[in-house]
């Protein structure tokens, strides 16, 4: 197996970088530039198609760039279906999921990291054991559980499974374990309660962990399709992902409208990613390297 050396030699000695060192990066450009284009091309086609008239999309032979830009796809999108409502639903579901994750996982993580109480080990082992259970195994009984509680076809059905997660509790616990105990003890000396210590001392330090958790939760809840597909039938309660699925007619597909919907469904997270790339990348890498 020949892989390029994951090197830093060009970085380590910039002063002695001769012509050889300066030439080397260009080799990587030859690989990375076409690859980047390849990765962005589908996104470009999505955006372009959403502005292309359907007549032109169906023309043969097809062209990548249209002769004129039309926004009719977007206007049709919002008049044909309650898309604004779907986006609203997604925002409600994700918003509740993020806020509830931040609160419940902070509380739980802090308890399992720092407080001692009867049954702590039992509770923690129970949490640990749930992390291996795949959602697919749970969807059938969860559907019937929600159906008996009268939750199917309510917005609550969409967000209740995202209220908290074992992963989130672990993430916060791991972070709280790394906070120096002396800081908390100082807070206690100054007369803070347990809640006070958490809110005034620990949480402000935990901002990176909280950001990570918020991004994870946002990605998961906004992008989920399987659960709303099962739990929601009323088109008024669709999330945007479910609505997207609905635009795929059985026979005829209005591609311009569908791609416009795709843009609308993906744009918030893509724009969020471009503006907060550092946090996003940290979030992803945290999951793998630091837990």
């Amino acid at each position: 197996m020949v892989l390029p050396f994951a090197g830093r030699s060009t970085k380590q000695a910039p002063d002695c970088a001769g012509p050889r060192a300066r030439r080397r990066p260009s080799g990587w450009h030859l690989l990375l530039a076409p690859l980047s284009v390849l990765f962005l091309l589908p996104l470009a086609q999505m955006l372009i198609t959403s502005f292309t008239d359907n007549g032109e999309i169906n023309r043969y032979p097809p062209r990548f760039l249209p002769s004129a830009l039309h926004i009719a796809g977007y206007t049709r999108l919002f008049t044909d279906a309650p898309v604004a409502r779907w986006i609203m639903n997604s925002m409600i579901v994700s918003g509740i999921a993020v806020v509830s994750h931040l609160v419940l996982c902070s509380l739980g993580g802090y308890a399992y990291a720092r407080l001692s109480f009867r049954g702590r080990t039992v509770g923690f082992v129970a949490l640990l054991s749930t992390i291996m259970i795949p959602t697919q195994m749970l969807m059938i009984p969860t559907y019937f559980m929600f159906s008996r509680l009268g939750l199917i076809d309510t917005l609550a059905a969409a967000f209740v499974p995202f209220l908290t997660s074992a992963f989130g509790v672990f993430l916060m616990r791991q972070f709280f374990l790394s906070v120096p105990k002396e800081l908390e003890e100082a807070g206690r000396m100054d007369g803070l309660s347990t809640v006070g210590v958490l809110i005034r001392i620990v949480l402000p330090l935990a901002r990176p962990a909280l950001t990570t958790l918020a991004i994870f939760t946002l990605l998961n809840s906004w992008n989920d399709l399987l659960w709303p597909l099962i739990a929601i039938n009323d088109p008024q309660l669709y999330t945007i992902q479910l609505g997207l699925l609905n635009f795929q007619g059985a026979h005829h597909i209005d591609w311009q409208e569908l791609m416009a919907c795709n843009v609308v469904a993906s744009a918030p997270l893509i724009l969020g990613f471009v503006f907060a790339q550092k946090q996003f990348v940290q979030t992803m890498s945290l999951s793998g390297v630091k837990g």
Binding site: P4, A33, P62, S116, Y143, P161, F167, W255, V274
Partner: protein
């Protein structure tokens, strides 16, 4: 992207972290009568549980309880309306003769076996490429990471357009190169390959990011020392880089295996298992059996089988790596 399934042991990966919080909390109070001590303990327990209970209770209610119920359903014949009929292990026995399930399993296993090594190799390769201070590196990283935040539904629908035989970008490119147009998603010999390609587009960024973080964690002085000792680039890669990223490789391998075994949304939005069941996967099969055909007992049995297989595979991999102390790559 399925997150929150597995966490590597943090203590193992970064030994600088404190090991345990056993000694935390419960500052011993001043010596007093026994009942105040008991009361103190009670207050501590109540405080602890009031913090821990909401999350713990919700998670238990949404995972442990349904997991047990799922097993009970798997031993019943049930259409969701009429009372369930206990059938013992019949649902599990039925799986052995189900040709459609067999092919769904085959597709899923083949996909996993093909996809995971590619995600590891390409991920490490690209992470090495992106771990450089060259011009436009920010642009390159953004381009490769952006598909990560797109939902499987959106990328599936987009892929359906890109691989459309009539106006898709893919066949257009082939035509421009004077190559014969392909059926892609409509060709049952090509469909799984195309889906793997789409999945790679949407998911490769994850292994690249994790590898990139691991590469940047390698202390510079180790590489400097190796260079001083006269190691060439390939030797440094072999003896410094590879061992350093080995734990992360195991993590990505397990993570990717779990997510690939659960592939569903992409199938739903591109082919719905077609043509002729050629892209049927296990989770799509479960969804179809339960929520389309109302065979909840059978669906639950297959879901349990999937869970058992995932668990065995993951535990096996972890045990193997623990025993050999050398992560498989």
């Amino acid at each position: 992207m399925k997150l929150g399934i597995l966490l590597p042991d943090r203590e193992r990966v970064s030994p600088r972290r404190p090991r345990s919080a056993k000694s935390a909390g419960a500052v011993p109070g001043p010596p007093g009568p026994r009942h105040t001590l008991r009361r103190r303990r009670l207050v501590a327990s109540l405080t602890g549980w009031s913090f821990a209970l909401p999350a713990t209770l919700i998670i238990a209610a949404l995972t442990l309880f349904p997991a047990v119920w799922s097993f009970l359903i798997s031993r019943e014949r049930w259409n969701g309306f009429t009372p369930p009929k206990p059938v013992g292990w019949a649902n599990y026995q039925a799986m052995a003769h189900d040709q459609d399930l067999q092919s769904a399993v085959n597709h899923t296993v083949l996909f996993t076996v093909l996809y995971v090594p590619v995600a590891l190799l390409l991920g490490l390769f690209l992470a090495s490429a992106l771990n450089r201070k060259i011009r436009f590196i920010g642009f390159y990283r953004t381009a490769i990471f952006v598909p990560l935040v797109m939902s499987a539904a959106a990328s599936g629908i987009l892929a359906k357009f890109v691989f459309d035989p009539q106006f898709g970008l893919a066949d257009n490119g082939l035509r421009a190169l004077h190559l014969p147009a392909q059926g892609f998603l409509t060709d049952r010999h090509q469909v799984m390959w195309v889906i793997a390609l789409i999945y790679l587009w949407g998911d490769l960024g994850f292994s690249v990011i994790v590898y990139l973080a691991a590469l940047q964690d390698i202390p510079k002085d180790i590489i400097e020392a190796a260079t001083l000792d006269g190691a060439n680039r390939r030797q440094i890669f072999r003896h410094v880089t590879l061992p350093s990223v080995a734990p992360v490789t195991l993590f990505i391998g397990v993570w990717e295996t779990i997510s690939v075994l659960q592939i569903f949304e992409l199938i739903l939005t591109t082919t719905r298992g077609g043509p002729l069941g050629a892209s049927q996967t296990v989770v799509y099969f479960i969804y179809n059996q339960a929520f389309q055909l109302s065979r909840y007992g059978y669906g639950s049995a297959i879901a349990y089988l999937l869970f058992a297989a995932t668990l065995l595979l993951t535990l096996g991999l972890l045990a193997y790596s623990k025993r050999t102390k050398r992560e498989a790559f």
